[in-house]
């Protein structure tokens, strides 16, 4: 493998993508809302509710529906603390996965469908890179960036959660082992899922926007996980997270195998 070419393509793709507002804005806005603003709202919501005399019974009801495993994990906290920990540690866990999914999708859409739209693929196909190198480079840039943004978001979130929850909890309570598994096991897999789905979508898409909108459907499983947790069907325990990660890695492997089979110069030249 020609690593120089792979790194050059990955770096160029990122450089080009980051000059597209359609790529950069969601990468900035989503983490800002989810991982900076949201923790403070969730941490202070119970005290605002108390101050205004509003009942916080909705959250109470959600907690009551939770599986016993989660209630056991929260048993060492006061009722107010339980709500804070539940909201910041568990409720946001599936939402965190939207981050690598969205970043990898948006970058892959720019890299594949965007290249098609800008008519820049042909010159690339005339270079000595092999099909495998080209495929690896195209995936690597978006995947590495998605994982890096997710890791950074995680660090920011860790600081924000502990800072916002300090008045209620009084000590560092984040991350737990579930989050470690979520970030280092599930996040790379989810970033890979966003990528390979976008590779398939880009073949038929007319351009970046088209691909991004169609590929956006890939967040549906994550939303289902969120609904599943809020409704009390399941919760993000360490075991669930490890299992979800395994399933996504397996899906990645299968999709990647199909995508690599169809990623041949001749196909690209006629379809792109």
């Amino acid at each position: 493998m020609n690593t120089r070419a792979i790194v050059a393509i990955a770096r160029k793709d990122l450089k080009v993508a980051l000059q597209n507002k359609g790529v950069v804005l969601p990468i900035i806005i989503l983490p800002l809302i989810l991982f900076v603003i949201f923790p403070w709202i969730m941490a202070y919501a119970p005290s605002w509710a108390d101050a205004s005399g509003t009942s916080f019974s909705n959250m109470d009801q959600i907690l009551e529906r939770m599986p016993s495993g989660l209630l056991n994990e929260l048993s060492g906290y006061t009722p107010d603390q339980q709500m804070t920990v539940f909201a910041l540690v568990y409720m946001l866990a599936p939402m965190f996965l939207i981050m690598p999914l969205m970043v990898s999708s948006v970058l892959a859409a720019d890299s594949f469908a965007g290249e098609k739209e800008r008519k820049t693929l042909e010159a690339l196909l005339y270079t000595p890179t092999t099909d495998r190198e080209l495929f690896t480079a195209k995936l690597l840039g978006a995947w590495a960036a998605a994982v890096a943004v997710a890791l950074f978001s995680f660090l920011v979130y860790a600081v924000m959660v502990n800072a916002a929850g300090w008045h209620s909890i009084g000590h560092i309570f984040f991350p737990n082992w579930m989050w470690v598994a979520l970030v280092f096991w599930v996040t790379p897999a989810v970033a890979g899922l966003g990528l390979v789905v976008m590779v398939f979508v880009s073949v038929r898409a007319q351009g970046f926007q088209d691909a991004y909108q169609t590929g956006g459907l890939v967040v549906l499983p994550v939303l289902l996980l969120m609904v599943g947790q809020i409704s009390g069907v399941m919760y993000f325990s360490l075991g669930v997270v490890v299992f979800v990660g395994l399933v996504i890695w397996l899906i990645d492997a299968v999709l990647l195998w199909f995508a690599s089979k169809s990623f041949r110069r001749g196909e690209l030249m006629t379809k792109f």
Binding site: A8, L124, Y126, P128, R265
Partner: protein
């Protein structure tokens, strides 16, 4: 004689029901400037793609410097440079970044990249705007940058798809000089796809004319004009006092002179039935006592060949 730079054997490529390239066979010699002519959709770009291993043939085979485009694509593409029909540049990057990126892909030694990039930017008169984004460039500047990119790694075979299409006459002349220099001094083989028949006539050692994916003519420009353009325009200069006699004589030779001779100042212009008519015409004029100062054939050009092949005009 050395092996041909490009060998194409009965190669075909179909897209659905359409034969983009149909049973094409030809050879291009090393160091030759080879013109590949044809309408849009004649199969020129598809042939370039097949020769670079970017498309797979439906049948047939090709070799470029002995390398099989399908089996040895990466090694082959390391030795070829391609100017695509559209510049295919990243418009969000600067010219320098575009060239540096492709220098990495073509494995130009790292230490040589800045110098090589600068020298090409200078050669193509882009150095003053090298650090501007390509999106702000004119069509001609983009074309020059794309050409510079094709030369980055000093290819031994250069495929040029309409290299002067977006260029002004001065820039086009510069490209012509560059192509001639590459072929004549550096031994680079040039495969030139063009609609510009004057360009092909001027530059090419041999040309192939394609129509609907099929090769319809192949040879040097002069061979093709002789083969396909039978009639011949000539200028005749005689003693000015004998102009009337000359006109009368020419009008009496319809088997040789197929157009009505026209008097233009001191010259008579006419169309002959072919170059074979020249000796006989000259002989008759001398027998009539005409003092012939000059009988100059106007060489037919590739444009006439092209139209003769594509519409019966010629």
């Amino acid at each position: 004689m050395s092996a041909p730079a490009i060998q194409i054997s009965s190669i075909s490529r179909r897209f659905g029901e359409t034969n983009a390239v149909d049973n094409l066979t030809l050879e291009v010699q090393s160091g030759e400037i080879f013109g590949f002519l044809g309408h849009n959709g004649a199969g020129k770009t598809t042939t370039v793609r097949l020769l670079n291993g970017v498309l797979e043939p439906t049948s047939g085979s090709a070799r470029v410097f002995g390398l099989d485009p399908q089996a040895e694509g990466p090694a082959l593409r390391a030795r070829t440079g391609v100017l695509t029909e559209t510049p295919s540049l990243d418009e969000r990057l600067t010219a320098r970044d575009n060239l540096s990126f492709y220098a990495d892909l073509y494995n130009v030694p790292r230490a040589d990249v800045p110098g090589r990039v600068n020298s090409l930017l200078t050669e193509f008169e882009l150095v003053d705007r090298a650090d501007e984004k390509v999106g702000g460039y004119s069509k001609g500047m983009k074309q020059r940058l794309a050409l510079a990119r094709a030369l980055l790694h000093k290819p031994v075979v250069l495929f040029l798809d309409e290299p002067t299409a977006a260029l002004d006459p001065v820039a086009a002349r510069h490209v012509h000089a560059l192509v001639e220099n590459l072929a004549r001094r550096e031994g680079c083989t040039v495969f030139l796809c063009t609609h510009n028949l004057v360009e092909a006539q001027k530059l090419c050692d041999r040309v192939a004319v394609m129509e609907h994916g099929r090769l319809v003519a192949l040879g040097t420009p002069s061979d093709l004009t002789r083969q396909y353009v039978k009639r011949l325009d000539v200028d005749l200069e005689v003693d000015p006092v004998q102009m009337d006699l000359a006109l009368q004589t020419l009008q009496e030779l319809p088997q040789l002179v197929i157009s009505t001779p026209k008097r233009e100042k001191e010259l008579l212009t006419m169309t002959l039935s072919g170059r074979e008519s020249i000796p006989e015409l000259l002989s008759i004029l001398v027998q009539k006592g005409l003092r012939v100062y000059r009988l100059a054939p106007q060489e037919a050009n590739l444009e006439e060949v092209y139209f003769a092949l594509n519409g019966g005009v010629g």
